[in-house]
Structure formats: C-alpha cells, structure tokens
C-alpha cells in the first residue's frame, strides 16, 4: 500500500503499484506504490540518482525510447493499465504531457512549436490552430511577450521563455496530466519564479507531477510531496506535513539538509 496519509476529496488520477524498473542489470525503481490525485500538484524530491525522473517518465512511457529497459508492476491512469491495458502509447502521450529538464523547443517558429501537437492529430483549420496557439500561450503566461513575433524562431527566445514555450506546446494538445522533470533546473531565479507561478495556476486545471531538486520549490508549489531514496518511496504526504512533521527519519534528514 502507498505510504501516505491523505484525506483527499479528489479522485486518484495516476496510480502506481509495486513498480520495478531496471536499466540492464541496474535496478532503478524498487516496488513503488503511490497515488497521484487529480488537479493537484505532486512533487517528488530526493537526491540525484534516486529514480525520481525515471518514475516520472514511466507515466508517458517515454522511457521506452531507450533500449534494455525492464519494467514490472502496474501503472494506471483513471484506472486503466498503462502498460498492458487498452491504451496506445500515442494516445497516452496526448493525455499525459511532459516538460523536460532542459527546454527543448523544435528549431521552428514559435507558432509552429505550439501547434505541432494539434497538427499531429490532424487539425488543419487555420482559425482553430490560431485559437489553440493563443490559448496555450496565454495559459503558459507567454502570450504578451511573443504575440508580435510568432513567426520568429523559437531558438531566438531566452531559456525561461523557451521553457514556457515547451509548457505551451504541451498544453496545446489539451492533456489531463502534466509531467515536469526538473523544469527549472536550467533557469535563472526570475525565470524560475515565473514557471513556479505558472505551475500554481496550472494545477487548478491539470494534474501536475513534478520532479525537483529544489525543496523550497516543492514546498512552494506542491500540494503533495513524495520523498524517494535509492529507488524507493520513503514517505509521501501533504506537503505541509512532510516539511513540518516528517514521520521518517530519512525524510527529516534530507529536508533538513543533513544528506543529499
């Protein structure tokens, strides 16, 4: 059973049960069981190499890009099994968007970046695409900065803008879940603050699951926090409780900076 103490009214969006994951002979995740609630931000913290990014990537099966990966256990979205159930990986990735550690805009125009997803799914109508582009850029708090330069290359933007563009790009396919893999680690404090504000807004509409190295960030933006250590889930609970009254000695040591 998941190690948590929630009294949540929201439904469970993502569920992991006894998830094992190995790269070749190296076991990265060891029996993770965890519930992630809809329309909440859940942060995963833990030292480098604890498997938190790997865990995140399982939810849209992007880990399958690399070879020699073995997964055991169950992952569900809305109760439907992700690995064996009737959901195609392309459909899964439309429903579970992802923002990567380093901004990775395509070397195309800002506009083409945002409408990339909708175009994949066959939207051709120019007016509809324009509408999606504006809506997504507004949600990513980027519209005012780029509305006059939509045709310019995304490569000409600053790092923080690029990351918000990547968020807009993910939002454009109207996902249900947003995975964020250390979305601010390559950004300066001002850009980081903007992304954090954004996450705060986004969790009202989407289920956000983020990995972060930055404990203050987890404390600021998330409703739930999970602490990973050496591929295991040590403790999960409401963020305020985890940071004020951790139950596990290891969690306490980590958040008080005694190791990590």
């Amino acid at each position: 059973m998941p190690i948590t103490d929630h009294q949540e009214q929201k439904p469970v969006k993502l569920r992991a049960r006894n998830l094992d994951f190995s790269y070749g002979d190296k076991k990265v995740l060891d029996g993770i069981s965890m519930d992630i609630f809809a329309e909440q931000a859940t942060a995963i913290i833990g030292p480098s190499g604890c498997g938190k990014s790997t865990f995140l990537k399982c939810f849209n099966r992007i880990h399958e890009v690399s070879s020699e990966v073995r997964v055991a256990g169950d992952l569900e979205i809305d109760g439907v099994d992700i690995f064996r159930g009737g959901i195609h990986e392309v459909e899964l990735r439309r429903r579970v968007g992802m923002v990567f550690q380093k901004p990775n805009p395509f070397p195309k125009s800002i506009y083409e970046n945002v409408v990339f997803g909708p175009k994949l799914f066959g939207v051709r109508d120019r007016d509809i695409l324009d509408g999606i582009a504006e809506e997504s850029l507004r949600k990513a708090a980027l519209w005012d900065e780029v509305k006059d330069r939509l045709k310019e290359s995304a490569m000409s933007m600053s790092g923080g803008q690029q990351q918000r563009l990547c968020i807009a790009r993910a939002l454009a396919v109207n996902p249900e879940v947003l995975l964020m893999d250390e979305p601010c680690s390559a950004l300066d404090p001002i850009a980081t603050a903007k992304i954090e504000e954004l996450i705060f807004e986004l969790k009202k509409e989407f289920t956000v699951l983020m990995v972060t190295h930055n404990m203050q960030q987890a404390a600021r933006v998330s409703d739930y926090t999970a602490f990973f250590w050496l591929g295991r889930l040590i403790e999960m609970g409401p963020t305020e409780r985890i940071f004020t009254n951790p139950r596990d000695r290891m969690t306490e040591d980590y958040i008080s900076g005694r190791f990590g």
């Binding site: 392309v90 459909e91 968007g97 395509f106 070397p107 990339f116 994949l120 790009r169 993910a170």
Partner: protein
C-alpha cells in the same frame, strides 16, 4: 614547478624508488639546458611556420598559374601561338572542333552538370534515408559497422570504381537493356558516381543526425508523435542545414571526379549534336546512353595532346579554372550552410 607537481601523485606509487631518479632528471633538464630549450623552441617555431608557408604558397601558386593560363585564351599574351578567343565563343557555344578552330565548351559544362545531377538524384535521398535508418532506427552495432564501411568506401581510389564500371556495369547494361549496343554514357557514369558519393553523403548525414540533441526526439514523442512523425516533422527539418551540406559536398566530389567517369562515359565531345541527330530511340534513352563528355573527362582526354600556348591548350586550362572555381564555390557554400546550421 614540474617537480612539485609530480611529487604528490607519485608519492603513493608502489614504485617509490623510481621517484628520486625522475626528480633528478627533471631538475637537470629544467635548470641546466634552459638556453638550449629556448633555441629549440625558436627552431621548431620556424620549421612549423616554414611548412605552413610552403603549403599556402603552393595553393596560391596553383591558383595564380591556373588563372594566368586559363585567361590566356582570352587575352593577346606573348606566349600565345593561336588566336585570341572571345568569352562567348568558348562559354556559349556547343561546337568543339579544335582542328577547325571551334572551341565551344558549353556541351562539357552541360555534361558535367547532367552527370552530377543524375547521380545526386539517387544518391541524395538514398544517402539521407540510409543515415536516418542507421542513426535513428537500427541497433547500435549496426551504426558502428555502417560507419566503418562508409569510411572504407570513401577511401577507395576512384579508378577502382572506374574498373568496376568498365568491366562489369557497361557489359551488364548493354546485355540486359540495350540489345548489346554500347552502354557508355550519362547513365553508366551517373551510376558509378552515385556509388562513389553515397558514402560521403551517408557519413556526413549520420554526423548531422548524431549532432541533434536527443531531447528533440523525446520532445516530439512526448507530444504524441509516432516514430515516423518525429523523424519527418522534427528530426529531418532540424538536421536539414547539415544534410544540405552533406549533399553539396557529395556534389563537389561528383563534379570534380575525372578518372571513374572517363572510363565509362564514352568520351564523345560532340554528344549534343549526336543526340540531336539520332532519332532511333526515345529522347530520354538517347540522353542516357549516348557516349558523352564532361569538363573533367575532356581535360584528361585531350590535355596531353596539345601544345602549350595554342588556343586549344589555353581553352583546356580555362576549363580547369572553371572547375576550380566551381569546387571553390561549393566549398564556400558549405561553409555558409554550416554556419547557418550552428544554432
């Protein structure tokens, strides 16, 4: 300084007794022969500089020589034995008959262009798609194997390809498709050139795809792309400046190639008129299988037979200069493309 740095790292070494000896040698070298080392430094500097200057001087020398001889055809210079020609009668005429004082090289230019374009028509797409397959889809061992094979193929001397064309390809085409009539012409030349430039294009295209950040592919997949959508819509467009460089460099190799082409193209300077007059075959077949000539094959063929200073000889040099400028233009173009690709 050297001594101090060496001490801590060798201190824990099991071969501890070796340390004092090294120390001695180092100190003798650094203290006693400072003057000698200074001289050696200066001497080495001069040698390297001299080598660099010789190379530069050679290249500039070739360019000056080629330009002088190339322009001699159009200028009334002292060394000329023949008449002075006009640009129009050389570059805008297809009539090549040196014995009757006709020096039009347009048909050779057209020949070079045709054979290069024909080769690229197949080599560019197949080379790029091979690179896509090997770098993005195939397992790792295949990538290593392919890289080695391609590097090997790039290194094969062109005359070997020529022999292959002459003894295997020509008889094969002639027997299979042409009812035993001669097969020499653009088709055979383009086939050989294609085989020659595909490795260059594959190798450089592989570099282009490997230089792409992996996150680009993951980003496309995370938005719900299939493997092919990611390749077509993101990876190929992202690599396109460097892919274009690969194709253009392949083109440079094709234009400059003389030996292999000369062995299979048939070497007929009057190919244009022959092609116009003959009506026994469909135009495309005539174009592909009429013996023809290019700038390079004509140079190889005729330069040894001409006297220095004659108009004939001068025009051949003008052709050489033209080839030089074309290749130079291609190299400069790839530099430009390369800069544009560096985002």
């Amino acid at each position: 300084m050297l001594m101090l740095k060496a001490m801590p790292s060798t201190a824990g070494d099991p071969a501890r007794d070796a340390v004092p000896a090294t120390k001695m040698r180092l100190s003798i070298h650094s203290e006693g022969s400072r003057g000698l080392r200074f001289l050696l430094d200066r001497g080495a500097h001069s040698v390297f500089l001299a080598c660099a200057l010789v190379v530069v001087a050679l290249i500039v020398g070739i360019l000056v020589f080629l330009s002088l001889r190339g322009f001699a055809a159009f200028l009334p210079l002292a060394g000329n034995t023949g008449r002075t020609l006009s640009f129009a009668e050389v570059f805008l005429s297809t009539e090549w008959a040196p014995s009757s004082d006709k020096f039009g090289i347009l048909s050779f230019m057209a020949g070079s262009l045709s054979v290069t374009m024909l080769a690229l028509l197949v080599a560019a797409p197949s080379g790029i798609l091979t690179a896509v397959f090997v770098t993005l889809l195939a397992p790792g061992w295949m990538k290593t194997l392919m890289r080695q094979v391609m590097d090997l193929l790039v290194g094969i001397p062109s005359v070997v390809y020529g022999i292959f064309g002459l003894t295997f390809l020509l008889p094969l085409i002639s027997a299979k498709w042409l009812k035993d009539s001669p097969a020499a012409g653009f088709f055979a030349a383009a086939c050989i050139l294609m085989v020659m430039i595909v490795p260059t294009i594959v190798s450089l295209s592989m570099d282009a795809f490997e230089a792409l950040p992996r996150t680009l592919d993951e980003g496309a997949l995370a938005l719900g792309s299939t493997r092919w959508q990611s390749i077509w819509r993101v990876l190929i467009p992202a690599a396109s400046p460097r892919l274009l460089t690969a194709v253009v460099l392949g083109m440079g190799r094709a234009i400059g190639e003389a030996m292999a082409v000369q062995m299979v193209i048939g070497n007929n300077p009057a190919w244009l008129s022959l092609m116009r007059e003959a009506t026994d075959r469909a135009p495309l077949i005539r174009f592909l299988f009429t013996p023809a000539a290019t700038l390079t094959t004509e140079l190889v063929q005729e330069l040894p037979n001409t006297a220095a200073g004659s108009a004939w000889n001068n025009v051949l040099f003008a052709m050489g200069l033209l080839l030089f400028l074309m290749t130079m233009g291609i190299i400069l173009a790839t530099r430009r493309l390369g800069q544009r690709g560096a985002v």
